[in-house]
Amino acid sequence: MLSISNLHVSVGDKPILKGLTLDVPAGEVHAIMGPNGAGKSTLGYAVAGRPGYEATQGGVSWKGEDLLGLEPAERAAKGVFLSFQYPIEIPGVPALTFVRTALNAQKRARGEEEVTAPAFLKMVKAASTALKMDFDMLKRPLNVGFSGGEKKRMEILQMALLEPSLLILDETDSGLDIDALRIVAEGVNALRSPDRAMLVITHYQRLLDYIKPDRVHVLAGGRIVASGGPELALQLEAEGYDKYAMEAA
């Protein structure tokens, strides 16, 4: 279970999250929706441990373990994966090298045996075929010159290989056309499992047609202001966020 209680996060001097409380049990997919500037991306960064997004109050735990005291890489080794809205380009580091380095770093941190190069190549070939990715692309520097869709697929490929237990998808649908969206959503859906929790952050309902959430939460003014079933997403799509923006203010 991901358990966030009374979380306060400031960026610089500006309070962004103001007492956010949320539980996501393992095996469930929860969507976070909300207007621009509500603090959706900040939530993802705070859980993942981005410098400059430290909690000033409250707690975040995953499977009963406190996350806030851990370095970002330690959180990753505990299973936390944040899929970036705009995945970063890393010139000079081939995608394959990057993912293998990350996977083995996580395994080392958990005291597990590292993956050998041939075993890793086999894993990558299977995963990239499932995502309809060109294997040669993975020899290029990570995300450099990749299209928006390719970058998102690269994120899903990393998820498939790193096998995180807590997935946070930050605006995964942005910049994707309908075909790319379908492939990316299939990749995410393939990772659904009873011991994984997923937090899907999105502004639009569109993504939720493909990744069906168990629960939908509205984030406005730095707090969860409403929660409900999948029907809440449809209602938001029809009515907009005005009501909640007013409430939050």
Binding site: A76, F81, I88, I90, G92, A102, A109
Partner: protein, 342 residues
Amino acid sequence: MNAFPLIDLKDASSFPSRRVEAWKYSDLRRHLREAPAPSPSATVPLVGGGPFEALGGEAMVFVNGRAVGETQMMVSGDKMVRLRLISRAQGTGHALTARLSVRAGAKLLLLESHEGHGSAYVAHNRLELDVARGAEVTRIVLTDEPADAMSITQAQVRVEAGGLYRQTILTTGAKLQRLETQVTHRARGADVRLDGVYVLSGERQADLTSVVDHVAADGVTSQLTKGVVRDTARGVFQGKIVVERGADGTDARMGHHALILGERAEIDAKPELEIYADDVQCAHGNTVGNLDEAALFYMQQRGIAADEARALLTQAFLIEVVDRIVHEGAREVVREWLTARL
């Protein structure tokens, strides 16, 4: 046009101070007020064959300035030479001059290693290299010197018509370390590449200075130097390209890019282009910055610890220079050498 004073280790009055423009950032006189006592001839037997041993080739070896074999070489055909400049001295000084002449159409891969042992020595190395018409020379330099050593290496390279000269210097610096290259395009259509990498930590300093003189037409010069400085280290890059009257059709490009990874580390960069000819293409770029914070966080988020993420990004930044080395075997040796020093 020789802007560089002649240095004689036996004569302290020949040591340039920062008042000499070309030595502004490497004040030899401040560090060395008196001529050092001459280094003894090293009696210790040589161990190993230097960092390029695995590649084979012939060896040309100097220990404390004294040649073990020849000091001059005439190269014909296709040759690989390991030029090993070994210092085994404590607080003393030594100097050497090596001459290599590469005949028309010949090929030379010159693998130069500065292997410093002992402490606080002063080394002065001079290299004269003639690249005849249509000859091809690749010079790769790896320097490993103690943090309290001082060394000055001055290479003078003359390239004749259609000659090809490629140079890559990699260094971890010393107390004061100057690696100077002067190249003259003496006849039409010479092609020159001057690359460098410096990785400096502690209180080390390295000074990569070059002067490329285009006397003849249609010459190409391409320079790429990248560096990383940590702690209170100091990197110096001075690159000067002169295009003389009549050297039309010259194509010269110079890039220097550095990362400052220590709050008190320093970079001094001085790129200069002097152009007296028409119809030339010249460009230079110079950047100094820090590692990308967003990239660091992204890597950590995927499980790569902060230190490893920094090392990976640093290596990725520098490796572009190493990738320009054409000889595969040499490139791999250099890549491993660099990776071990990040």
